[in-house]
């Protein structure tokens, strides 16, 4: 009889001790993320004013991040991830601001840091210096470029003296050279590329006269090795290729340029080593891949190209060089192609989980 009464007491004493010692949160030993753990990717959804996040593993498989989608500003569009991987910048096209999000690199979640930085009217493209100290925002309707210095610790933006800098009206895209010395702006209506030199403090100065390109020039990209500049001429269905003088910033059209593409070339992705260029042909529903001669810049269509994809509008290169990611005009998925670095051939890979409504921009971290 005694044992039946005291035994539960003994158990309670034990459980109470257990709860006191081990029941509460303990120190996590979660290791920090490493480069071998895949990378983070975010897409902007302007119709819902949110951003959806994924982690992409080494095999190209997408996993939705807990807490996603993340609320954003009004009509989030262009995005980029700071080279440190700690910050995400998002251009809010209707609100005329840039949002700064802090990235939890372990979880992948986003926390917006307010206030948002004001821009010109309709910020529609962004680029950043390779060191992550300067952020450039192209304001389409105000025809200007806002330049911000970036605080490396907090990611906070401070507009540099003289910003915004005037540029062509209705500019639709721009690209910065890897060393950050020159910025090229493409204007669709004027079918021209405008060149600017960039000072160490982010001050822009026009460099030379506008360079003519094809009709409907829409997208521009710079070779990672600073050898060539590519311009997709959407209305002309061509690709203009220029050799780049990395000292003066001067562009010289290579022999044979412009080169024929599929219908409606609208986006350009350059492989990380610069040997392949991929063009999204919105009209012909495919991606054309070119092997680039490193000396002449002459493009040769890759065997097996074009690679079929319905209405591609955005191409982004995986920073590790293993994949090309694509957004299309109607799909609610991120499409993925694995990239054979020896041949340039693209192979369809897994697609992301649904992001509910059509995304317009994609940023991929290292």
């Amino acid at each position: 009889m005694i044992s039946r009464r005291v035994a539960p007491l003994c158990l309670l004493v034990w459980l109470a001790g257990l709860a006191g010692c081990g029941g509460g949160p303990s120190t996590s030993t979660t290791p920090p993320p490493s480069s071998g753990t895949g990378h983070l990717a975010y897409v902007s959804i302007p119709s819902g004013n949110f951003i959806t996040g994924f982690r992409i593993d080494g095999g190209g498989n997408f996993t939705s991040i807990v807490g996603s989608p993340f609320p954003a500003g009004d009509s989030p569009g262009a995005m980029l991830i700071h080279p440190s991987g700690q910050f995400l910048y998002v251009a809010n096209r209707i609100e005329d601001t840039v949002s700064l999000f802090k990235i939890d690199t372990n979880v992948g979640s986003l926390t917006e840091v307010l206030p948002r930085a004001p821009t010109g009217v309709t910020p529609n493209a962004m680029t950043m210096s390779s060191g992550g100290n300067l952020l450039f925002v192209l304001n389409q309707l105000s025809g200007s470029i806002s330049v911000y210095s970036v605080n490396s610790g907090s990611g906070a933006l401070t507009e540099v003296t003289g910003s915004p800098f005037a540029t062509a009206p209705e500019a639709v895209g721009f690209a910065l050279t890897p060393l950050g010395d020159f910025l090229y702006v493409v204007d669709s209506n004027l079918a021209s590329v405008f060149a600017y030199s960039v000072s160490s403090t982010g001050v822009l100065q026009a460099a030379g006269v506008p360079i003519p390109v094809g009709l409907g020039a829409f997208a521009i990209a710079v070779d990672p090795a600073e050898r060539f500049v590519y311009v997709a001429n959407t209305a002309a269905d061509t690709l203009s290729i220029f050799s780049l003088d990395s000292t003066s910033g001067a562009l010289t059209e290579v022999t044979g340029s412009p080169f024929a593409t599929g219908d409606g070339p609208i986006s350009i992705a350059v492989s990380t080593a610069g040997q392949y260029v991929y063009i999204a042909d919105q009209g012909t529903n495919d991606i054309t891949g070119y092997s680039i001669d490193p000396t002449t810049g002459f493009p040769t269509v890759i065997t097996g190209s074009p690679f079929s994809l319905n209405s591609p509008v955005v191409l982004v290169t995986d920073p590790n060089g293993n994949f090309i990611y694509a957004l299309t005009q109607r799909s609610v998925f991120v499409n993925e192609f694995s990239l054979d670095s020896s041949t340039g051939v693209l192979t369809v890979g897994p697609e992301s989980p649904s992001v509910i409504t059509v995304p317009v921009a994609l940023a991929v971290g290292k």
């Binding site: 005291v6 979660t30 690199t105």
Partner: protein
Amino acid sequence: MTIESAVIRKTFLLLIIILAPGFAVAQNGVAPRWEVFGGYSYLRLDSKSFGFANEANLNGWNAAATFNLKLKWSVTLDLSGQYGSQVRTLNYMIGPQYNWRRDKSKFFVHGLIGKAQDRVDITVGTTTGFQGVGRAFAGGGGYDWYWRPRITFRVVQADYINGNSFGKTQNNIRISTGVVFNFGEIGHHPKL
């Protein structure tokens, strides 16, 4: 009766309970009716399925109540909770257990099914903390060593736990250790 004497009396009774032979151990063909386990638990959580960069190494507790139907067959109710700085997980499972008893040792294997509840502690907008609940099943076993008739040490228990929360499958590994308290008795003492 003074307070001191009451405390001494209760302490004495507790020692009696712990040290007195309540039932013979397995070699005599008997086993406790109830075995109640509590102890430390480590969980390697498949947090990559939530979008984390890595799996999470979590620490916490594990408790179980085992009802012995026979010497070899039991039903176990298993509860556990593990915690980290950004994620915590709870599992509630029940299932059959097979025991193999010899001298002061008991080996067991079990299959469990129940619920997994995972929580990720992040703040998004005005929402703090995201919780996923889904089914869970587990398979595993362990080794117990009888120290006293009413006290057994669970030297080790290892389980594979398959959870399903946040719409994804998690493949988790749990290791536990602790103490088992024995109550009641089943089986028959051998005739002398």
